[in-house]
């Protein structure tokens, strides 16, 4: 079930020239949302751009009594829609439709004793905070492997630390954390984990998720990825957001990411068929 809310923008926190966090007053969506689900945000009430944009739900916003009052999204200013969202002002109202898609938790049943390791690249951090809150509530161990090009690409790692996650930060230019790609510490830690069972959750650029999926497969860690294909409607109407996956009969076929995803068992994903 999805609802459309003409939501007041509560906050717009600019993190840099590229990134901002928009908070929406949308208690109906906040109450229904599960970790890893997404919303479709209409950047304008006019026709430029025409279509909504998909965003992972980043935070569930709560009032003083911990009641859900809204959701936030992590936006990267890359085009006409996202630039409008970057410039949106508190008090403005935008249509936000959700919650949509499946939750991280729908892919694998919570395996008892498994550690949850989150692997995020840049803006791919967005779907992990709700999962981290869920994992913390279960009192299960978790880690965040978080990579970006530079220090200015990494935000909010402390929120995860506050929830009890251990952090492994990387930057390609070495300005924060370990220098190199996020798969570097991931591979090392996977190999060093001994017999402890680990489930990997990944979101970020497609090459990163593909590399994480390969590590998960070779080092025996079940892996869930949150894919971000171009999406038209978010409701299953347009068939534009398809991802090629292997089915129960292992015959690869296109499925709608908005309905069957955006989270998938990485073993099912036909990576070479993904558009970039």
């Amino acid at each position: 079930m999805a609802v459309d809310v003409l939501a007041e923008i509560l906050t717009n926190r600019a993190l840099s020239r590229d990134y901002n966090v928009l908070g929406f007053a949308a208690p109906e969506i906040a109450r229904l949302a599960r970790p890893g689900q997404f919303v479709m945000v209409r950047p304008t009430s006019g026709n430029d751009p025409l279509l909504r944009r998909p965003f992972s739900i980043f935070e569930i916003l709560r009032d003083d009594r911990r009641q859900p009052i809204g959701v936030s999204i992590l936006n990267k200013n890359v085009g006409v829609g996202t630039s409008r969202l970057y410039a949106a002002r508190p008090g403005d109202r935008l249509s936000i439709l959700g919650p949509l898609g499946r939750s991280w938790l729908d892919v694998f049943a919570d395996a008892p004793g498994h550690e949850s390791w989150f692997v995020a690249g840049g803006v791919g951090l967005a779907p992990f905070l709700t999962l981290a809150e869920h994992t913390a509530a279960d009192k299960r161990p978790m880690r965040l492997f978080y990579g970006g090009r530079s220090q200015s690409d990494l935000y909010y790692a402390s929120l995860f630390e506050d929830l009890g996650a251990s952090l492994h930060l990387t930057t390609e230019d070495g300005t924060a954390g370990e220098k190199g790609r996020v798969t570097l510490p991931l591979e090392r830690e996977l190999k060093a984990r001994g017999g402890r069972p680990v489930t990997l959750y990944a979101c970020g650029p497609t090459p990163m998720m593909r590399a994480v999926a390969a590590l998960g497969a070779s080092l025996h860690a079940p892996t869930v990825v949150s894919l971000e294909p171009v999406m038209g409607c978010g409701m299953g109407g347009c068939y534009s957001c398809v991802v090629k996956v292997s089915g129960a009969d292992q015959h690869p076929h296109f499925v709608r990411s908005c309905l069957e995803g955006p989270v998938f068992d990485a073993k099912r994903v036909q990576w070479e068929a993904l558009a970039h």
């Binding site: 459309d4 038209g232 558009a275």
Partner: protein
Amino acid sequence: MARDLSVQIGSLTLKNPIIAASGCFGYGLEYAGSLDVSALGGVASKGLFLKEREGHPPPRIVETPSGMLNAIGLQGIGVHRYVAEKLPELRRLGVTNIVNICGTTLDEYCEVARVLSDHEGVAALELNISCPNIKEGGIQFGCSLTGTYDVVSAVRKVTTLPIIPKLTPNVTDVASFARASEEGGADAVSLVNTFLAMAIDVETRTPKLSNMLGGLSGPAIRPIAVRMVYECHQAVKLPIIGMGGIQSATDVIEFLIAGASAVQVGTANFVDPFIWTKLTDGLADYMDRHGIGRVSEITGSLRKNT
């Protein structure tokens, strides 16, 4: 005052004139968890061939000014899975199903029509002879007058369901195709399908769609679609289901005045899946303001400039 939103399309009665357009609303069930799909005038299903189809690789859509291009490639589950997996639930929900059927041959159109005619819960058949995005079938019938006549008259022989050919705008004179449909025994025509179009990434000099070409829809095409509905209304007696870029009740009424008896809404549903009641409320308000009791009084009511 007494105001009635129902419309008559041949032998088919719709509770209101607003239909979800084919290819834009899945099979209808996708939306059933969030809204009352039976409240729509009808749901034109995603196009069905005899067998399942995989469709084109992504990217399948791209936005353009006030519109979008799509080249989905008619991904679909095929008619047999539709009647087994979708139709029973659609019937239970009371949805008015206008099933969009496709074929690569005349025989395939007829076979799909026969299968659907054998099942309860199908209100009408919309013949897809206008998809611009597949190589064989469909538009090869829709771009030829004899092809249009042949497919309509062939399907006419195998079903008593109302048949509604969906016409392409990618022809010189769309009204002649409405006439060919009328002569072939159609109960109505629907128009327009999308306009064949192209978008290029200038940095990479590559097409933005995997299929290279796609169909343009959305508000960008609306004035052309209104003109084509008007032309067809002048040319045939058949009821016309108009579509192309409808976003508001005002747009609905514009199509009705041009000659449509009902309309379909596609791209706007992507933007606002809860648009349906806004459109029917706006239409009802217009009827009240103008003292109109029945929607059919609006159809073809264009006045001359004075």
